[in-house]
């Protein structure tokens, strides 16, 4: 470190603190969510007993505590309910993406609202704009979802 300013030193996060948690069945009981997402499907859990739809997926129903849940499809489209753009102060691993859009998407039919990165430039966004799901690769053979403005057909 001779001659190097201390402020130039970079700390490195341990892997266990990656934003994206392990997704395989070895580490989580909802690995099916990520398996389906990898195939372009968007799913969550629904209680077989009381019918409560949960987000994010669960292993126990938060309403009736039943542990008999089934996987159901979620709409892959929605409308933009709120949005902004992060211009500075990104967390580690996302600095190079600045600026990027963030919004809340209200899924069609069921009204579930999800916070999401929006893969459309901020200047092109409008409230109530139709959105569609996109699946993105994450480091370490993992996947996650985002939304973007729906392409006009």
């Amino acid at each position: 470190m001779m001659g190097k300013k201390r402020s130039d030193q970079k700390l490195v996060l341990p892997l266990a603190m990656d934003f994206c948690s392990p997704q395989s069945e070895e580490f989580t009981r909802i690995s099916r969510f990520f398996d389906e997402l990898g195939k372009g499907k968007f799913v969550t859990t629904k209680c077989k007993q009381c019918g409560t739809l949960s987000w994010p997926p669960r292993v126990v129903c938060p309403e009736c505590q039943s542990d008999e849940l089934k996987w159901v499809n979620l709409p892959r489209t929605g409308k933009l309910w709120a949005f902004t753009e992060l211009c500075m102060g990104a967390p580690r691993g996302m600095e190079q993406d600045l600026p990027f859009s963030i919004g809340i998407v209200e899924l069609d039919k069921i009204g579930l609202r999800l916070l999401s990165r929006i893969d459309t430039p901020f200047k092109d966004l409008k409230l109530e704009m139709p959105m569609e799901l996109v699946v993105v690769d994450m480091p370490g053979d993992k996947v996650f979802f985002r939304f973007k403005a729906k392409r006009k057909r």
Binding site: K10, E85, P91, R146
Partner: protein, 389 residues
Amino acid sequence: MRKVAVVAGGLCPWGVRKASWRELVQEAGKAVLDDSPDLGKGEIDSLFVGAASPDRFAFQLHVAPLVADMVGIHPTKMVARTELACASGQAAIRYAWLAIAAGLSDVALCLGVEKMNLPDMAEVQTTMTAVLDREWDAIHGASAPPFFAMCAQHHMMHYGTTRHQLSLVSEKNHGFSSTNPYAHFQRPIPAANVEDSPMVAPPLRLYDCSGITDGAAAVILASEERAVELTDTPVWVKGSGQCVSGNNSANWRSLDVWDSMRQAAKTAYSSAGISVSDIDIAEVHDCFTISEIIAYEELGFCKKGQGGKFIEDGQSRIGGKVAVNTRGGLLGCGHPLGATGIAQVVEIYQQMQSKVPRKRQVPDPKVGITHNLSGAANVHSIMVFGRDR
């Protein structure tokens, strides 16, 4: 339940400090003990440490016994760190109050601390982001500024709140912090400068946001019996309220109506036996300008949607309906997460003793409240303090 009072308070200078986590602790510990000359350290039987993330900011767990080391005390009743993100400091005070009220403790130290300025600022942003649901929300790069930016977007759309009204909150609080030698930001900032500051997350600009700050603060709470022996001017804990609405974004029913804050205020006022018109001074959680405007509304200072007008009419300044954030708030003092909730109580304590600089002294305050929100305004914590027993 036994009556409980604040009998001492103190803090270290806040800012980008050339000092480590444990040095901030020592400074705040000295400040609060210097403020209570009649108290023998051996009488402090309990310790609660408000700290949001020493795990990452200082790579240290089991911090409460380390704080006991740094301050040189040996609690024999209760000891713990309290973590509730941005409300960690108030959480410490709530537990100390509960322990004393229940008769499990007689004298408790509450010390809040956060060391946030580190060689690599991405580390701070990463830790702050993890206050949200990290696996499902923070993973999108969302943190506090985008969430509160969207609250502002909705409040402007639904109630006509203006850019200028947001700026007036920042102007007021920086005006107050310029009278506070312990504050991070020592210069007044006119509203026009807020509007010219760099964009963080539209519509929020840099001076709409509280700072990343190193700081510590401490108060001592005591039972009624001990309080009246220790000081002629104790400040009494009169009541409190707290309300939770989950953490994941799927729970956000509204961005600009904060039901859980309204509920927490209702509980706090009724437990203290006060009505909103009794409040002379309020320390509210202005982590962003928009949050102070929504706080006016949900605390009942004005009608829903009138928060922008409330600041514009000067109602939250000294001489208005209720003096809000006279120490400078989070915008002016900075926001060292675990220390904020405790520094707010120090301000109420010193205001009621007429110990603050004259420029920000509220005339004869009898009832004060402190409010902290945490996360994406999912949790609201409110305490009521009174000069009269």
